[in-house]
């Protein structure tokens, strides 16, 4: 998902002090993840086992891992901060910004990924559009994944410094070494196992905060009333009512941007084409499991706002200064002696408010687990794309299988070392962080255009796919640079002088997707389409999808997707 990762730029007095019990809780977690890594080493001998977890994951494991790989600690803290800043609008990134795309992946796209037996998303592009598209996608994905991993690593280390007073180098080395051990030993299977474990820990450590917060606030109705009293004139508790105009909501966005930019382009781009998450589903043990996994994940994704968004809203009411006045959190750049805490400290502040010894350690472990699951996702995806899409086709073809497993292990270590290097680079030039995060989004939107046309339009050609992808990416970069050079351009890119930064990301993605699709269509019409026989297993209409036979309603993915859709609409209506 598009991240809003705030930075704790300045080291301040630490928020919390760990007791001996908290330290033991954290130590037990590290011991467990490393134990899992060593235990699973025996099951990572072939490339299929190391990179694809032997394609043996059940729907539940693949589904939880699918959600967990996205649920990084910075995702948690960034969006809790956004909820404090923008109110319940932030939940759009979890509901319309995820659920339709996850269901679409499971119901419509998964059969093509799975039937083609591709090892990666760039691998699908190779099959559909040829080598040039694969190389473009693989290089950009590998490069950006590692950079993002490093940026997140640094941000997490600074969080630990602010919250606990830990040394930055200690935090970076401790967490990255643990990830290196368990991913290098056990490959994707180990990453997935730990992601499921981390997912449970995140809930165990974070769910208590909104429960106690709601008790203190007197329930949801009282919470809304207190927010209304404390912040008159700003609508923090409705998701859609304020989206009629850019200026009528704290986020500065319009409903068209939320529906088409976020709900379609950014969301579908991330959840259906980003190999970081798709890799988890490709590891499923059957097509039925692969289709069920994102649907199972969608239920948990819908629940995440209760541990991320709700604490942000509760903080608007329950956080007070020592003198009893209401605490006001501010942006990173506005932190001062009068307002010492930023939006991004919402979750740690709430943890410290309610959690004593043991529970605080559990909450901190949840944050560390979130970080490690995100990092493991990055490096395991990088390792697979490097080995399958760059090393094997371009550096050493036809090597023994064991050789590629060794390359994968070294790629994992290399990925972590480069991530650490990036973390220190960002430490000395923090402006880089904004650029790296924006760069990552450059590739997602156009890649969605390329994949969708490739999967659903038989006429799309190899040249169309490549040039469309390139043009879409170039458009996204150009718009980003334009707004950076001239901030007034934001009103053109986002269609309104009242638009804010969040709207820019959404509309930039939308335009880059539109350009990618148009260029792909135009270039394809100038070329010759591949014969339909060559598109079997790759394109809708040229593929006979396997029928796995009748199943009871309780195991039918359409049935569970329908339930997810109903819950999705009910949630949006409740908080309309």
């Amino acid at each position: 998902m598009a991240l809003r990762l705030g930075m704790f730029v300045e080291a301040k007095q630490q928020l919390a002090h760990l007791s001996a019990l908290d330290v033991v809780v954290i130590a037990v977690y590290f011991a467990m993840v490393i134990w899992i890594g060593f235990y699973l080493k025996q099951k990572a001998n072939t490339s299929e086992e190391f990179f694809m977890a032997g394609r043996e994951m059940t729907a539940w494991i693949a589904g939880l891992s699918f959600v967990s790989a996205n649920l990084g600690s910075l995702e948690l803290m960034g969006w809790a901060g956004s909820a404090y800043q923008y109110g319940i609008l932030a939940a759009h990134w979890y509901w319309i910004g995820a659920i339709p795309a996850m269901l679409f992946l499971g119901l419509v796209m998964m059969p093509f990924y799975y039937v083609s037996k591709t090892h990666s998303v760039p691998g699908y592009l190779k099959l559909r559009f040829g080598e040039s598209s694969r190389v473009l996608a693989a290089v950009s994905f590998g490069f950006m994944t590692i950079l993002m991993s490093g940026v997140n690593m640094f941000a997490m280390a600074v969080v630990m410094k602010v919250v606990l007073g830990w040394d930055i180098t200690f935090s970076i080395l401790m967490s990255s070494l643990a990830v290196a051990v368990y991913v290098t030993l056990g490959g994707l299977r180990s990453a997935i196992f730990n992601e499921v474990l981390q997912f449970m820990l995140i809930w165990g450590g974070a769910l208590l905060v909104p429960i106690l917060g709601l008790i203190e606030a007197g329930g949801w109705t009282n919470l809304k009333a207190q927010i209304l009293t404390n912040y008159q004139g700003i609508d923090y508790t409705h998701m859609w009512r304020g989206l009629g105009h850019f200026s009528s909501n704290p986020m500065g966005v319009h409903w068209t941007g939320i529906v088409f930019g976020l709900g379609f382009v950014i969301s579908f781009g991330y959840w259906t084409t980003d190999f970081l998450v798709v890799q988890r589903v490709l590891a499923a043990d059957s097509l039925r499991s692969a289709q069920m996994a994102p649907i199972i994940g969608s239920f948990f994704k819908m629940a995440v706002p209760f541990i991320v968004i709700l604490p942000g809203l509760l903080a608007l009411v329950v956080l007070h200064n020592p003198d009893g006045t209401l605490m006001h959190l501010v942006g990173e750049n506005a932190v001062s002696a009068a307002n010492p805490h930023s939006y991004n400290e919402v979750l740690p502040l709430m943890l410290v408010r309610y959690c004593g010894p043991g529970l605080l350690g559990l909450g901190i472990t949840a944050l560390i687990a979130g970080f490690m699951s995100g990092m493991a996702g990055n490096v395991s995806a990088f390792s697979a794309v490097w080995t399958y899409d760059i090393y094997q086709p371009h550096i050493r073809k036809n090597a023994p299988d064991k050789h590629y497993v060794a390359v994968g292990r070294w790629a994992t270590i290399l990925g972590i070392v480069v991530s650490i290097g990036t973390a220190y680079l960002v430490m000395h030039a923090q402006g880089i962080m904004d650029y790296v995060q924006a760069l990552f989004t450059f590739f997602i939107a156009p890649l969605l255009g390329t994949i969708l046309l490739g999967m659903f339009w038989k006429r799309a050609t190899a040249a169309g796919g490549f040039w469309g992808l390139l043009a879409g990416t170039a458009t996204s970069i150009s718009l980003f640079v334009w707004v950076k050079l001239d901030h007034a351009a934001l009103s053109i890119v986002a269609l309104s002088p009242d638009a804010k930064d969040m709207a820019e990301n959404i509309y930039r993605a939308l335009w880059s997707w539109v350009v990618c699709v148009l260029v792909t269509i135009i270039v394809s019409y100038f070329g010759t389409a591949r014969p339909e026989a060559e598109l079997k297993g790759l394109v809708y209409g040229a593929t006979v999808l396997p029928n796995e036979g009748p199943v009871p309603l309780i195991k039918n993915h359409w049935f569970w997707a329908a339930i997810a859709v109903v819950i999705f609409f009910v949630l949006n209506l409740i908080f309309f």
Binding site: L21, V24, V25, V28, Y29, M32, W35, I36, Y39, K43, E56, M57, T58, I61, F193, V196, L197, M200, L201, G204, L208, L212, I215, E216, D285, V318, V352, R353, Y354, C355, G356, P357, G358, L359, L362
Partner: protein, 70 residues
């Protein structure tokens, strides 16, 4: 997971049970000694019931997915 070996749910059960035991145990110690941590809503004794829930859930997973069952 298919096949032989330890299920991921067993690992989760072990971790939850350990955490539940430690946190619930500390919560009971707090109640007995009266040395309650200085946190909001401390009178609710969250460590006792939250730790208890984790311990019960962990114990269930440990038993349900213990390696001997395959």
């Amino acid at each position: 997971m298919h096949g032989s070996g330890i299920s991921i749910w067993f690992f989760i059960g072990v971790l939850l049970a350990i955490y539940g035991f430690m946190i619930c145990g500390y919560g009971i110690y707090e109640m007995i000694t009266g040395q309650v941590a200085h946190v909001a809503l401390a009178y609710l004794h969250a460590p006792v019931w939250w730790g208890g829930i984790m311990l019960a859930l962990g114990a269930f997973y440990c038993l349900r997915f213990r390696p001997a069952k395959g």
